[in-house]
Symmetry: C2
Subunit: 401 residues, 2 copies
Amino acid sequence: MIPLEFTITKKGKGLARMGRIETPHGAIETPAFVVVGTKATVKALTPEQVKELGTQVVLGNTYHLYLEPGDELVRDAGGLGKFMHWDGPTMTDSGGFQVFSLGAGFGRGNTKFEATVAPEGGEEQERLATIDEEGVSFRSHKDGSSHRFTPEKSMEIQHNLAADMFFAFDECTLPTAPREYQVEAMERTHRWAQRSLAHHKKFEAGLPAEAERRQALFGIVQGGRFSDLREQSARTIGKMAFAGFGIGGSFSKEDLGDTLALVNKILPEEKPRHLLGIGEPEDLFLGIQNGCDMFDCVLPTRLGRNGTLYTARGKINITNAKYVRDFSPIDEDCGCYTCTNFTRAYVAHLFRAKEMLAATLASTHNLYFIVHLVDDIRQAILEDQFDDVRARFLAAYRANN
Amino acid sequence: MIPLEFTITKKGKGLARMGRIETPHGAIETPAFVVVGTKATVKALTPEQVKELGTQVVLGNTYHLYLEPGDELVRDAGGLGKFMHWDGPTMTDSGGFQVFSLGAGFGRGNTKFEATVAPEGGEEQERLATIDEEGVSFRSHKDGSSHRFTPEKSMEIQHNLAADMFFAFDECTLPTAPREYQVEAMERTHRWAQRSLAHHKKFEAGLPAEAERRQALFGIVQGGRFSDLREQSARTIGKMAFAGFGIGGSFSKEDLGDTLALVNKILPEEKPRHLLGIGEPEDLFLGIQNGCDMFDCVLPTRLGRNGTLYTARGKINITNAKYVRDFSPIDEDCGCYTCTNFTRAYVAHLFRAKEMLAATLASTHNLYFIVHLVDDIRQAILEDQFDDVRARFLAAYRANN
């Protein structure tokens, strides 16, 4: 029933590996950075621009697409890829993270930590998603309307969205949650993983035998910041018949590498591993070295829209006065569309003038930077240059930061 | 000193003509629709997208670029085209219209008629641009700062912007202004035209003989809605050594065709004529039939950003509920990027979700529609089918409107 093929083509430094995932919509060379297209659009970019910058695979958000335009509409349009005119591989997440952050923190933005802060004048009871064994009831961050996700519902939504890869429904706990609660949530996530898998199997069994399109279901390892729980979760989820695995929840910079090593040593080697929602340059090196194959993160586009741009010499904010008359490219070493054709002065002008092209050029540059950084790391694995490439990159990147 | 060559290749119905303008940055087949890139960007589009939709020439706004990022910065970047990465022909307007509408109606939006309404709580004196024989003092619509344009200053700004075609400084009167004032303003515009021309000649004389880049200065015919004043203005401006002519000021749907015929019969036949700020489909037919060669208008992009889309069967608003599940293209007869690759349902979703790609897809479609309509009219002139093409187009276009 595994609808994707994963081949490891080379092993590298630590747990690092280079590989290839074959999906019904084309191959993904791993390690790969997955570009986020939350509401069936990578913000401010056409699919052609997304492809041109080197993107191999796009991830849509189940929570957002369920609320707007609705997963049944996306199904009727032919699935996420067809709806948004992206013909390459696609992914959807489980909806779990957004339900607990966005849904729970109704109207309060969408960081992992938002729900720890009580909304002004709001009732504690009002802002929380309500979790029971069956599923989660939550309010839409858009209009406050009530909704309910269960593992089965998440599967149904994601079947409608019809991405090549999708995720079992999980509970994403707050990093501040006590151990006792982390245990409870993790065990529930394991039961939900079983239910997700069972529901997906039933769905697949109902498909005509010759149906060529199959979706690959990934299970999610949780366990928060407790290494024994991470280990337990990796063992439990790793034994289930998933096509691949996601690693979810929160980490700190200090324990990220160790936790990933611990988890990835347990997860079956022959299946791909996706580190959910993490994608800063330092973390990509750490994740790859410790056995992760895919990464997704909204930071490149979100930072870009705020004028924060990656360069080989660290991040810059293009709205800073010193760039107003700077006729050099954003990053002299960068081969992206923006750096090839426009100056810092021009991009700075677009931001000051609040022109929409600012977001397009900034997002293009930041995504190109991150996607190609992962490509470079893949090449480094192939050439046994991982340590050198990392040392060189980080020395320059941290110099001005 | 004429830095462009205009060749009439075919004459058609009424005063219609098909031709070709050669500029230092390439040729423009006329009649042509000029795409507006107010602040050195066609809103929400990359220059490649602008080119791909069929654009031949882009117009930047002198008033806006003078305020932001400043014409000297654009000069130092290599001129408007280089700054914005548009390698085709460029134009700038005189700044006159915006000084009197945007500048005068400080903070009040930018229609021609805005300045007739007193800003809430504002002083009459505060909101008006102050005109004297030498020039105009006005306030920035952005921050209220004081500025002054004279014909000489407008030339200097436009030399810095360095577009292939640019305009003499003119006064754009309100359509409600009394005849007495229209006469006064027109006569002043004629004196300003002489001063613009003189200042430009002096500038050109100072250029090295081998300087290959020359800018073509266009004079502007004014006269408001009085046909004897239009006639007088056409005679006066038409005799001056301009490379081409703009027709400015306000019209009504009823007198547009007659006024243009009157003016264009007087203007020298061998020079191109640009109808300023007008570009609705009906008006394009009328303008071409009555001897205009170029048109510019912000409507295609401005309407597009609001969800109003041109179709062969009239305008539609894509945010209307009936398009939410409509999986057909915006216009089945349209060959644009948007119609080729996306459905109404998808574009409707982008507008509802307030995604930036909405503006990109809508602007692409609307500009393609208008640019190709003018292309079709040009072809109709070539094939002596002007009346048929117009009748067929308008019958369908007005059917649902």
